[in-house]
């Protein structure tokens, strides 16, 4: 009974939104830089990442780039032309062996050289989980600081793409956020991706950049052509507001920006939208300041609910901002099921689910 009511409810929500939801579940909100500041070029996210790796390889002669099919540009074209430019001893394909790729990258980084390793899909990172969690994250600590693999960066395409089903859609950031010693970042678009990747390459800690694969082509921005880094561990306030704080990362940021538009238009609610950017370590100060200001917090991510990274945010915020909160912190997430094949539109924390949750906390 409940099921059929729900089915009708969700289906009608989808139908009413048929025009917007035909291609994907979000509308892209490009980041705009102040005009005339720097030389810019129009790039999508894979081009911006390509540009960052180009600069990384150019600036650091010890830097190596490798992964499955990376030599030809990779399945998402991020490493296009880099083998031609830097040679096949620096940019090369590996066999299909993720554990080996990770171990190999850690070894390279242990010698002080810079390793940029691609794991073709986040769903394939689990064979290398042991190497990343037990080797990369703990090398510095267990050797008393004698050795580290800080010059190591993993690039990992993640997230929903519309038709990826079980093994080409997952968002495993929370597994890695549970591991002290790592840095985990997720860009929302080309400008951020370039700056974060260059920052990760230069950062003296092992870093993982999860790249929402649906943004590779869908996200286009005017990206500065020069080399620049984004500060790691900092979140971005994309829209200031006074009533509710909306927190997301990756593709979900764009869903939340649209939710903020809808909330303003339909309910006259001012949302503050924050892109977390860094999942580990995350920017506790900015997030808590915002939560103290608005008193209401909604967190949304594609990964499942239980033990998703939203759990950490919610627990921390309630501890630090308890007396200022006007409503329980709300998480809108993927459901606690495997990532579904034909049911992806229902599984995702789309704008309808986020807006419904927003109404709940406002009316609490």
């Amino acid at each position: 009974m409940k099921v059929s009511t729900l089915t009708r409810g969700l289906l009608s929500a989808i139908k009413s939104n048929a025009i917007c939801s035909t291609r994907s579940h979000f509308t892209y909100y490009p980041t705009k830089l102040a005009q005339g500041v720097r030389d810019v070029q129009k790039m999508n996210m894979f081009q911006a990442i390509n540009n960052a790796m180009d600069l990384g390889l150019e600036q650091d002669s010890s830097a190596l780039l490798f992964g499955e099919d990376v030599g030809f540009g990779g399945v998402f074209r991020c490493s296009m032309n880099l083998r031609d430019k830097y040679g096949k001893d620096r940019v090369f394909n590996t066999p299909l062996c993720e554990q080996g790729i990770a171990g190999f990258a850690i070894g390279v980084a242990n010698t002080g050289a810079t390793a940029i390793a691609e794991i073709q899909f986040a769903d394939y990172i689990f064979p290398s989980f042991d190497q990343i969690v037990n080797e990369a994250a703990k090398y510095r600590y267990r050797s008393g600081g004698l050795f580290d693999c800080g010059s190591l960066t993993f690039r990992v395409p993640c997230g929903a793409v519309g038709h990826g089903a079980l093994y080409h859609s997952q968002s495993p950031e929370a597994y890695f956020a549970h591991t002290p010693g790592l840095r985990v970042v997720i860009p929302r678009g080309p400008i951020k991706a370039k700056g974060l990747l260059l920052a990760c390459i230069k950062d003296p800690n092992p870093c993982i950049m999860f790249e929402p694969k649906t943004l590779y082509r869908a996200a286009v921005e005017e990206v500065p052509t020069e080399s620049y880094t984004e500060e790691l561990g900092k979140c971005d306030i994309l829209r200031e507001g006074t009533d509710v704080t909306l927190i997301g990362w990756g593709t979900q940021v764009h869903v939340l920006l649209e939710v903020a538009d809808l909330a303003k238009k339909q309910l006259d609610i001012d949302c503050e939208v924050i892109d977390l950017v860094s999942v580990l370590p995350w920017d506790t100060k900015t997030i808590c300041n915002s939560a103290n200001k608005t008193g209401r917090v909604l967190i949304a991510h594609e990964a499942p609910f239980t033990q998703g990274f939203g759990s950490e945010l919610a627990a921390y915020i309630q501890e630090k901002c308890f007396l200022r909160l006007e409503a329980p912190i709300k998480r809108v997430t993927g459901w606690d099921t495997p990532f579904p094949h034909v049911f992806e539109p229902f599984y995702l924390p789309d704008k309808h689910r986020c807006l419904a949750a927003l109404k709940e906390i406002v009316n609490y």
Binding site: K2, L10, D69, N93, Y124, H168, P304, G308, D336, P340
Partner: protein, 399 residues
């Protein structure tokens, strides 16, 4: 690449050999029609740590010839239909075609007994059909509708039926699983074994070697089958593997190299291997084959190999054409029979395609059905305002 070229240059010799074999083969005839023939396999087996190998002279009956031809042709048609559905955007996501490799699956299936099992990777549409799922079950799974064998919940890489433990989306992950299935066969003492299939790309995954080692230690009835189609995604085997003689890579495990374009050679090797693994323990079987399509639908398959190379294999080594010619030459099948089979297969697959296009998707409640057995918690988490009970519907075929 060198290896590929040398293989291609051998081709005319193989064709001649085929004709010679047919001429030499013993043929039993009744009323001008042959009912049984004796055939030499096309190319000799190569052996690793084995004194004796599979039979190189094999018997082929008319019924078998008709069956293998029909099976290979059906797989080819299903894959062609799948490729077209993908181009029409009716199949979304991931779709890996088996065209060119049909003789591997059909040959192995021909040797399998009811107690035997198989597990494979993501190129499994053909296997799914051979293990008993009708074409609609395969195509419907691809289009994501209820008539699919996993009711549209799995998609291209996740198809299952009894004794077929499925495709697998994670490269190499199925190999230890297949070893576990072999362990269960041995423990139960049911005389069965498991074929654990993987490609030349997956052959470099560490867990494959872990599986070899355990299987050898415990003498498990497992045939590790490396379907070597010469390319792991976009990388040729020479550039990915330090040793491209995949049949020798089990180290202590014996191995057999088989011409994977010759259905009778694959059948003969599998018969030998089934007997061997049940009596002595695991072995590795490499079936040397070729895929005509790219790795998946997003790969045109021509950036890392030439169109000429693909064309040459199609013309000179195609497993279906060569088998058809052999059977006609032996008098086991007539050209009229071939035409009749082709028509029947086309009709069956066309009908299945139409049904797969028009079928209905499962109800939305299947988004949260069958996550757990005897649902550990009554309510599903993460659904916000919706109050949803976990649902368990199916008991697995293994219970």
């Amino acid at each position: 690449m060198l290896r590929t070229l040398s293989r291609v240059s051998e081709l005319p010799i193989i064709v001649k050999q085929l004709q010679k074999n047919a001429a030499q083969a013993g043929v039993a005839k009744t009323n001008n029609y042959a009912t049984e023939a004796t055939v030499q396999v096309n190319r000799p087996f190569k052996l690793h740590r084995l004194e004796e190998g599979p039979e190189t002279t094999v018997k082929l009956t008319k019924d078998e010839a008709l069956k293998y031809y029909t099976q290979m042709q059906t797989i080819r048609r299903i894959e062609t239909a799948a490729g077209n559905l993908y181009k029409e955007k009716i199949i979304r996501g991931f779709c890996h075609l088996y065209s060119g490799q049909e003789a591997c699956a059909v040959g192995m299936k021909a040797a399998m007994r009811d107690v035997d099992n198989i597990i494979s990777a993501y190129r499994v549409h053909g296997w799914t059909y051979l293990m008993g799922v009708p074409p609609l079950g395969v195509l419907g799974e691809l289009t994501g509708v209820q008539s699919g064998c996993a009711r549209g919940k799995g998609g291209s890489m996740h198809m299952y039926c009894p004794n077929f433990f499925g495709g697998n989306g994670i490269v190499g992950a199925q190999v230890p699983l297949g070893t576990g299935v072999g362990l269960a066969c041995k423990y139960k003492g049911n005389g069965g074994m498991c074929l654990a299939l993987y490609g030349d790309g997956a052959a470099n995954q560490g867990q494959v070697f872990e599986a070899y080692n355990m299987a050898y230690l415990w003498k498990l009835p497992v045939i590790f089958v490396c379907e070597n189609n010469n390319y792991g995604m976009g990388t040729s085997s020479e550039r990915a593997s330090c040793n491209t003689d995949y049949y020798t890579r089990g180290d202590a495990l014996p191995g057999i190299w088989v011409d994977g374009m010759d259905v009778l050679a694959v059948r003969s090797a599998t018969e030998f291997a089934i007997k061997y693994v049940n009596e002595q323990g695991p072995l590795v079987m490499e079936t040397n084959t070729y895929r005509y399509s790219g790795h998946s639908m997003s790969d045109p398959g021509t950036s890392y190999r030439t169109r000429e190379e693909i064309q040459e294999v199609r013309q000179k080594r195609d497993p279906i054409t060569s088998f058809k010619e052999l059977c006609i030459e032996l008098g086991l099948i007539t050209t009229d029979e071939v035409k009749a089979i082709d028509l029947k297969v086309r009709k069956e697959v066309d009908e299945a395609t139409a049904q797969a296009k028009g079928g209905a998707e499962l109800g939305l409640s299947h988004l949260w059905t069958d996550v757990y057995s005897n649902n550990l918690e009554p309510k599903l988490r993460g659904t916000n305002a919706y109050d949803i009970d976990h649902i368990q519907e199916r008991k697995g075929v293994n219970h």
